[in-house]
């Protein structure tokens, strides 16, 4: 599974991202989560998605706590959709974890425009960077007693947001600037000639995985449909 074609990973991610928006029953949401965890775990290993699973569980717990709460408007609905988004994020990991060259080569084979290909590659390149920058900022905040306790986080949430977002923006803007300069001197441009180093080919196993992803996602959606019909 570790060598699974990037296009199959991308297709599986898009299928799940679409499906989680439309399925209604809770049982099928859990099934989709299980499928996403298994799929991603087999491709990149389970360690990478522990945080996402914990986030899903946390949101689930929050929904449970809020079930009888009043005057909270559409907050539970928002949490329901964020929770579903977490499933799509889990499915994005096998794509984000793919070597950048293979990702660009795969998107190139799909005849996706160079602008979109580069944007997507940069987006995935930035994922680990933003995570590292965020961790470094939070560590620096601890020495300045910013958002160090749960109480502090809740009472000074807007301030904490500002103190996190401003340095994060300064850092990422700087990195983005330098990264663009570095890409430019190495010939990266939207209208240039491009030939990928990697040869991208769909093997029979990739086709099988693609069919399997379609069947599982389709099956869960069909089950959701049946549940809604019978209700």
């Amino acid at each position: 599974m570790k060598n699974l074609d990037i296009r199959v990973r991308l297709a599986a991610m898009l299928l799940v991202a679409l499906a989680v928006l439309f399925i209604k029953s809770e049982i099928t949401v859990y099934m989709m989560l299980m499928y996403a965890v298994l799929w991603t775990g087999l491709i990149v290993g389970g360690k990478k998605i522990v945080l996402q699973i914990a986030l899903f569980a946390g949101l689930e717990a929050l929904l449970f706590l809020l079930k009888d709460a009043e005057h909270i408007g559409n907050l539970p609905l928002l949490i329901v959709y964020i929770r579903r988004l977490v499933i799509a994020v889990i499915m994005a990991y096998p794509v984000a974890n793919a070597p950048t060259g293979k990702l660009i080569a795969s998107l190139d084979r799909l005849k996706i425009s160079r602008a979109a290909t580069i944007s997507l590659a940069v987006l995935f390149r930035f994922m680990p960077t933003v995570t590292m920058e965020y961790v470094a900022i939070r560590q620096a905040q601890r020495y300045r007693e910013i958002g160090t306790s749960v109480k502090d986080v809740f009472l000074k949430l807007p301030q904490l947001f500002e103190y996190t977002i401003v340095p994060l923006l300064i850092r990422t803007t700087k990195i983005a600037d330098e990264l663009t300069a570095s890409a430019e001197v190495r010939g990266m441009k939207l209208d240039g000639e491009y030939n990928p180093y990697y040869e991208v080919k769909m093997r029979s196993f990739d086709w099988f995985a693609f069919l399997l992803a379609m069947v599982i996602t389709g099956g869960i959606c069909y089950m959701d449909h049946r549940i809604r019909m019978s209700a």
Partner: protein, 477 residues
């Protein structure tokens, strides 16, 4: 051959009175190795950006003069006029990039890919090289640099030296004639610097023209043919091989540069306040995966003492200091502060960690707000005013800290740390990428902090800085 004639450059739309680069004329012969040096902000990086075409094609600005590369004109402005990138520029950044390979200072923002092989072949892919040719080129780079063990690895998991090697391999992949390196030793330990010096020597033997913007010069002794010293955007002086390594320490210090002579071994000063250690680390053990980072590591640190924490890249210097500050928990052993066995959670109250990159540690819109953030002091407190004046920050008190230079930002964080009265101050590579003058200024401010009784731990590879500032050295193996 590279020829610049009367090149001046100013960032932005030309509203400033002064040019950032003024009337630069230079000739670099094929196969020559040239060092560009000078105090931070002297225009070295801008000059490298002229040479690789990023100024003004990427970093916009007003450009005058002419630039010829291998006999072909890159740009030539009309006399007394600013060059028009559309009309007067005859080569694109991409075209220059085929002749001039670039190695930037910060690997974190230079790498476009996550995987080493992807990064090395990127420039070839972008130029549409045939797959067979890419493989052939990769083989050639491997034969030259021995990078086989580095292929197909996660870039984020490499050591600083390995990252540097990948960056050079990537620059060499399209077989440029010129290699342009911007402070390549900034994140390297002494061994890494020696290896880099050897590699550059090898490239020179192969006929590459090498241009290095650099502060630490010792490792280039056997490679460099010429040293160009810049100041205020101009070429101040030039020294040929055989002359520049004869320059005395006084002469180099006077120019605000780092010394060229062999740095002598460290001698402990014995400076400290009191005979009881404020911080004692006892039999610390930590394992990372299968690797034992620390096995019964013990050390003592005193008030008023500056201790340099040294060791090769990746040995665990930062991890050790993060154990002290409580960010990381040790698996075995104890950390005593004021003689009391202090758990990790409580240690953070007594420590302040100044990270390598100041941008992470700036949160508020003014210097005044920054230094007083979450302290008992108000902005008009006498202690605050005194501290800002002492750290030469008073004139910047209402500026956004992010708009200050790297050294000034570092002083803001240092002042913020001292106003919190934390007895233990830890700094991670505070002189990385600093010129001689600014390195000495940091040493001076740390000495002042130590005089106040702070126990200071500095993670550093910088032997010149250690000799000036440190009282004690703890080398981690």
């Amino acid at each position: 051959m590279i020829e610049l004639k009367n090149v001046s450059f100013q960032y932005g739309s030309g509203k400033k009175k002064e040019y950032d680069l003024k009337d630069i004329s230079m000739l670099i012969a094929d196969g020559e190795c040239v060092i560009l040096t000078g105090e931070s902000g002297c225009g070295k990086t801008t000059l490298t950006r002229i040479l690789n075409g990023l100024c003004p094609n990427f970093y916009e600005g007003q450009l005058q003069g002419s630039y010829t590369l291998n006999g072909e004109q890159v740009f030539a402005s009309k006399k007394g006029q600013t060059a028009d990138p559309e009309e007067d520029y005859e080569k694109s950044v991409d075209e220059i990039g085929m002749v001039v390979g670039n190695v930037f200072q910060d690997p974190r923002s230079q790498f476009f890919a996550i995987n080493t092989t992807d990064e090395i072949v990127l420039a070839m892919e972008n130029r549409g090289f045939a797959r067979e040719r890419m493989k052939e080129q990769l083989g050639k780079v491997d034969a030259l640099m021995g990078i086989e063990a580095l292929l197909d690895r996660n870039l984020f998991k490499l050591s600083s030296g390995e990252k540097q090697k990948v960056a050079i391999a990537s620059a060499l992949s399209v077989e440029p004639q010129v290699i342009l390196l911007d402070e390549p030793s900034a994140n390297l330990d002494p061994e890494g610097m020696k290896r880099l010096g050897k590699l550059l020597g090898k490239l020179k033997e192969k006929g590459y023209t090498i241009i290095i913007s650099e502060h630490r010069l010792g490792y280039l002794k056997d490679v460099a043919d010429r040293m160009i010293v810049m100041r205020d955007g101009m070429i101040k002086s030039e020294y040929r091989r055989g002359i520049f390594y004869e320059l005395s320490d006084e002469k180099m210090t006077g120019m605000g540069l780092r010394v060229l002579s062999e740095i002598p071994g460290f001698e402990p000063t014995g400076r400290k306040k009191g005979d009881t250690p404020i911080l004692r680390v006892e039999k610390i053990c930590l394992k990372r995966g299968k690797r034992k980072l620390f096995d019964n590591l013990s050390a003592e640190f005193y008030r008023g003492q500056i201790t340099a924490i040294t060791g090769v890249n990746g040995v665990g210097k930062t991890t050790f200091c993060k154990i002290i500050s409580g960010e990381i928990k040790q698996q075995k052993g104890s950390v005593f502060i004021y003689g009391e066995n202090t758990p990790a959670k409580k240690r953070i109250r007594d420590c302040f960690f100044v990270g390598q990159d100041a941008d992470y540690q700036i949160f508020t819109p003014t210097v005044l707000a920054e230094v007083t953030l979450n302290t008992e002091y108000s902005a008009d407190n006498e202690e605050v005013i005194r501290m800002l004046k002492e750290f030469d920050l008073w004139q910047f008190r209402n500026r956004h800290p992010a708009s200050l230079s790297g050294g000034q930002k570092q002083r803001v964080i240092l002042a913020a740390a001292l106003l919190r009265n934390r007895p233990i101050l830890i700094l991670d590579e505070p002189t990385s990428g600093l010129d001689g003058r600014h390195m000495r200024i940091i040493a001076e401010y740390l000495r002042r902090a130590a005089e106040k009784g702070t126990c200071i731990l500095v993670i550093t590879h910088d032997r010149e800085f250690i000799n000036i500032a440190a009282d004690e050295v703890l080398e981690i193996h």
